[in-house]
């Protein structure tokens, strides 16, 4: 066991600090939205040019072209967090679409989309889920039929974040209706301004319209917008879904949240209350367990060992823990724990109340907790899938 990073990495850390020092006056604070104000876009460009965002994207596509190095990424994260400075835009285009395109896209597609996406000039939304296809995503029904040089799309997507801000969508659609369900799907890019496409905001219990429904009524998409081969879409989309799942429930934010929760308990005078202290220590143990667990996963990745079954629990445990931390903070606030953003007496402008509800959404989103448990029992523990009797019903 060795928790130090070594001298060459400490040298790299000094470089990161020098960059942060030099850009103090223009760096936006850590908490920023996805929309991209002029300041955020300017910052995003500086990060890409300096190699602090999309660091490993090849130079010919507008990236920094660095070799993948997990420890360097961790150091960048640590130093930016310490400085309280934004890590740049973190939308699904950057985190999911660009890696997918690098793996499956052709040269034209890469040249056309990667540069604008990583610089924050092109916003993407993800068109995967459908009203009838949540946990069983591969049963999706939105169809794309080839008509000359265009695909014609009909159907509906749901839970689409940033659909109203996005210029483009990367979507999974059914192109081969007669193939087995996993083999009939293609990965298509859709212009959000295309005729026949409508967006309806979907309001969450938090009161925010973070999601949307997107309807396709004979929406025409050029054939060259296909990523990978026809019918290969499930494979293409799945490559980045795993990545998304690991982002949900990441441990570093949880520790920050725990530390802020201790402050809430102290400020509301319940830190010395035995019941609250007991609850807090239960949460502390889980928080640190997840922190060290993520260090264990990181070590596996550094040593190029395949992730073991223990990696499957990050999302399940992390989202639940974040939810429980927010719940403890709200309990400590007594009646004021019910107040909404904008109310008098509300703490942190309702951030904890929002977090409490939002994390419940994350327990469900990206694969429900129950689906996660199926995966853990099947992949981690070698238990059998449910018998196939339900197959006919799903499609």
């Amino acid at each position: 066991m060795d928790l130090s990073y070594g001298p060459e990495y400490e040298e790299f850390r000094r470089e990161v600090r020098a960059f942060l020092d030099a850009h103090k006056s223009v760096a936006p604070p850590a908490a920023i939205g996805l929309e991209g104000s002029p300041q955020v876009r300017d910052w995003q460009k500086r990060l890409v040019d300096g190699g602090y965002a999309s660091r490993t994207v090849p130079r010919q596509y507008g990236g920094f072209g660095a070799k993948p190095d997990l420890l360097q990424n961790i150091i960048i994260d640590e130093e930016f967090r310490r400085a309280g400075v934004s890590r740049g835009m973190a939308n699904q285009g950057i985190s999911m679409f660009v890696p997918t395109l690098l793996q499956y896209g052709n040269e034209d597609q890469k040249l056309r989309y990667i540069g604008p996406t990583i610089r924050g000039e092109m916003i993407w939304c993800q068109g995967y889920s459908e009203p009838g296809s949540g946990s069983d995503l591969a049963s999706l029904k939105t169809s794309a039929v080839l008509d000359g040089d265009e695909f014609v799309i009909n159907g509906q997507k749901i839970w689409t974040s940033t659909a109203r801000e996005a210029q483009m969508m990367f979507a999974l659609v059914r192109t081969e209706p007669d193939a087995p369900k996993h083999e009939g799907i293609s990965y298509l890019l859709v212009d959000m301004k295309a005729p026949g496409l409508t967006i309806r905001p979907l309001v969450m219990m938090t009161g925010h319209a973070g999601f949307n429904e997107v309807f396709f009524d004979n929406v025409r998409v050029p054939r060259e917008n296909l990523i990978g081969r026809r019918g290969q879409g499930w494979e293409v989309g799945k490559a980045t879904l795993i990545h998304e799942r690991n982002m949900l429930g990441a441990a570093d934010q949880t520790e920050n949240s725990y530390i802020r929760c201790v402050d809430v308990l102290r400020d509301f005078g319940v830190l010395d209350n035995a019941v609250y202290r007991d609850r807090l220590m239960k949460i502390a143990a889980r928080t640190y367990a997840m922190k060290f667990h993520s260090m264990r996963m990181l070590t596996d990745r550094l040593k190029k060992r395949p992730p073991d079954a223990a990696a499957l629990i990050m999302k399940l445990n992390g989202c639940q823990l974040n939810h429980d931390i927010a719940k403890l903070a709200i309990d400590a606030m007594a009646e004021t724990g019910t107040l909404k953003r904008g109310s008098r007496h509300v703490r942190a402008d309702g951030a904890w109340q929002n977090e409490y509800m939002f994390q419940l959404g994350l327990i469900i989103g990206g694969g429900t907790a129950q689906i996660q448990k199926n995966i853990i029992s099947e992949i981690g523990l070698g238990m059998p899938r449910e018998p196939k009797a339900a197959r006919g019903a799903s499609r």
Binding site: K282, T299, L381, E386
Partner: protein
């Protein structure tokens, strides 16, 4: 950056698991725990040959002088196999207190014998008092009380505490067995009726208060490791059973209700293992957060292990509740670990007090 076990530790783990699987199957565990003494001297010697008893004994006294993280690896395996041996006392508390001593005579007398598995020392953490060179009082829940060669006795408390090594045969010392839910590690009550102690028996531990807390934390960490071992073995056995037992025309392990029970146990155990590794490492490195982590770990491990073994017993249905079913071994083992050296609630209170 390397968080986890070294190659040597992984090798030690698999070889010890192999050894215990072959030499200490649950049949032998049952034979020993159902015997009058609950103790098998030949087993302790075998553990000595495997390097288990001397893991924290310094090399100059015949041990391997390894780290607490190595000891945690061993403890996890002993818990997995439900080995009838009080590792936390005989191989951790007693040798750590002896190793911290400046009484060369006592160290040379006991440490090599502990390392070889030829002596078992009980550890007494509270109870007796010294007055005019004589020990009086009693102590309960003393590991291996009936069979220990000697006891490392903590007399008094705080900075003025003394630690004496008292042979079990000392005049004025009497032992009565206590019967607990877990027969794999016996405890007893030890009575001191004017037992003579002197400079020869005094361990002369410098900074006795801090040294004792540190040794106690080490014992808590290995009890947590033992609980982890018990929990993961329960899960292994429960999953195996669920893959063979059929009801309603299919194996019960194909029902989501059963799969989710097992997945929940798995999701509790794995981060616990990561916390265990860090707590042991922090203790070894004397990090600032080590005392808090030891308390957090022990409380968390014992909660997780009692929940895990409770769930796994239920996977077996009614059979899980029988004496015949081996699940009782880990269920009771977790129950013993839970109460010893601080219950979960007491240790959460301690962790809060140790929070910086």
């Amino acid at each position: 950056m390397d968080f986890g076990l070294s190659d040597d530790q992984t090798l030690f783990q698999s070889s010890l698991r192999g050894f215990l699987g072959e030499k200490v199957p649950t049949g032998r565990v049952r034979t020993i725990m159902e015997s009058a003494s609950g103790h098998d001297a030949s087993l302790v010697q075998q553990l000595g040959e495997q390097g288990v008893t001397g893991i924290l004994v310094p090399a100059e006294y015949g041990g391997t002088g390894l780290s607490l993280l190595d000891a945690a690896v061993a403890a996890e395996e002993l818990g997995r196999a439900a080995v009838p041996y009080s590792f936390h006392a005989a191989a951790v508390l007693a040798p750590l207190l002896l190793a911290a001593s400046s009484n060369e005579a006592r160290k040379s007398e006991w440490l090599p014998r502990i390392a070889e598995g030829r002596a078992t020392l009980g550890a007494i953490v509270a109870g007796p008092e010294v007055r005019d060179g004589r020990l009086s009082g009693s102590a309960s829940f003393v590991p291996d009380a009936a069979v220990a060669s000697a006891f490392v006795v903590r007399c008094g408390s705080g900075p003025s505490a003394q630690f004496h090594v008292v042979p079990r045969t000392a005049s004025g010392l009497r032992v009565e067995a206590l019967s607990t839910i877990d027969d794999t590690r016996r405890v007893g009550e030890v009575f001191f009726d004017g037992v003579a102690v002197d400079a020869g028996t005094n361990l002369e531990i410098a900074d006795a208060s801090a040294g004792f807390e540190r040794a106690l934390d080490a014992a808590r960490i290995v009890l947590a490791a033992d609980s982890l071992g018990a929990a993961e073995r329960s899960l292994d056995e429960a999953v195996k059973y669920a893959l063979t037992r059929e009801q309603f025309g299919r194996v019960i392990g194909s029902f989501q209700a059963v799969k989710h029970m097992c997945a929940e146990v798995f999701a509790e155990i794995e981060p616990l293992r990561s916390l265990l590794w860090y707590a042991a490492f922090a203790w070894d490195e004397r990090r600032d957060d080590a005392p808090m982590m030891a308390a957090l770990l022990k409380s968390h491990a014992c909660e997780a292990a009692t929940e895990a073994t409770t769930t796994c017993v239920q996977v077996y249905g009614g059979m899980g509740f029988t004496y015949e079913c081996d699940m009782q071994l880990w269920f009771k083992r977790a129950g013993y670990n839970r109460q010893m050296l601080g219950s979960p609630a007491a240790l959460r209170e301690l962790a809060a007090a140790r929070m910086s």
